[in-house]
Point group: C2
Chain length 280, copies 2
Amino acid sequence: MNVGIIGLGLIGGSLGLALKQRGWEGEIKGYDAKEVHGKKALELGIIDNLAGSLEELVEGADIVVVAVPVRAIPDLIVRVSSISREVIITDVGSVKSYILKEIQKRVGNRYIKYVPGHPIAGTEKSGPGAAEADLFEGKRVVLCQRGFREVEEMWETAGAIVEYLDPETHDKIFAAVSHLPHFVAYSLVEAIVMMEEEKDAFFRFVASGFRDFTRIASSDPVMWRDIFLTNKKAILQSLIFFRNALDKLESLIVMEDEEKLEELLRDIKEVRDRVIKGIK
Amino acid sequence: MNVGIIGLGLIGGSLGLALKQRGWEGEIKGYDAKEVHGKKALELGIIDNLAGSLEELVEGADIVVVAVPVRAIPDLIVRVSSISREVIITDVGSVKSYILKEIQKRVGNRYIKYVPGHPIAGTEKSGPGAAEADLFEGKRVVLCQRGFREVEEMWETAGAIVEYLDPETHDKIFAAVSHLPHFVAYSLVEAIVMMEEEKDAFFRFVASGFRDFTRIASSDPVMWRDIFLTNKKAILQSLIFFRNALDKLESLIVMEDEEKLEELLRDIKEVRDRVIKGIK
């Protein structure tokens, strides 16, 4: 089974590296619109061969993985499917309904061998230099289309655990547990920037809690612009809950209700510690 | 120079451990209202001797460090000062104006040898078992009263860098860079809890970004209840900026202003990366 990877950044690069180092049988070919990324990926042993065009990438591939920012995904899927009707196409985009809708806009009901995918893994870094062979080890990969054992096998070889969700449920869940936290982390840094003349003094005293808390605000801006724009509805719905939670905590402070405040903080700590135990 | 530490939790315990392991000359005595904490601290080599009462702790001490939640600090400072007029008293509370105001309420203008202090270090853990000898290594300690070289020396021995701020500036800065992030992290977890029937499915897919982002929501509830209640005004002011930042980001998403959205995310990433470079 030969794999072609479009986009050799953190996720595409880590997938190539994982497959090559964990015994995937078959060629790993890569393609990146940024020439420098492609060369770097070849240099780092992320791919066996670098394709000079999409056509070259698709030729001989059994699976093509599209690993680019969300809004660039639908076009690439449609283009790959018009180069080959046989190849199985999957992607790694953090938003799924948008991609399916955009594909339908372009091809109507014509059948495309496409398995929507989303590996729940990443770091705040980007580019092929950030690729890690064990990035997916023990992590979940959500697929939204059953019946393609080849894609399951690919992710299992990379160390991941495959789960299925429908696209709408996927988008709602990740709006809450991933997109909202990113939205909030970006806003938190921006809030301090908005404190104007005082911000330099403020940033001087930033502690390690702030570093961890805002790590995700250091993620790739284009990737997150796309996620925010394409999962808008679900994110804005999560934001309503978040604003309600802010108001709830604020009102306990304003009312100086020390008993309820302590109880709420204690409950939150318990929930958080319980949830975190389940994550690697 | 003998040091007496009241409260042998994460901060008090780490201070004892740091002084003992980094060549502080003089006895380290400890006292904790929780007997089990005191015994544990003795066992772990955090202190040389355990005092059975405040009087016993203060006897022979040159410096007394009060390392308990903020709202318990003023009483302890006043009690120590009435046991000995000579001993230098300092504390590690995250809020400073409140403590000074409460002391004044209790003793009026009677002079107390008190140096308000705040080490900018910590983890989300608590109790003597969480103490680390290098917790303060290279970290800042803010003091709000100059002229007490003994307190500076104590923190320098522990590996910290001493800086001075007035209490109001201190409280404003830490409302923005520490208290607001905690407020937001607690609210983020609570937002998902408020999503009711869906929350279990949501928490199942929580990724490592969420773990880092909400680490500080796992801090000691009593400590944070006290901080929120005693630095209320500055925290609520920071919250206004945070809500403005949320609105700003939201409106760019609602308007689908992709150019400005990408620019904002890019600017935030740059600020964050620049700020973080300055932190160990």
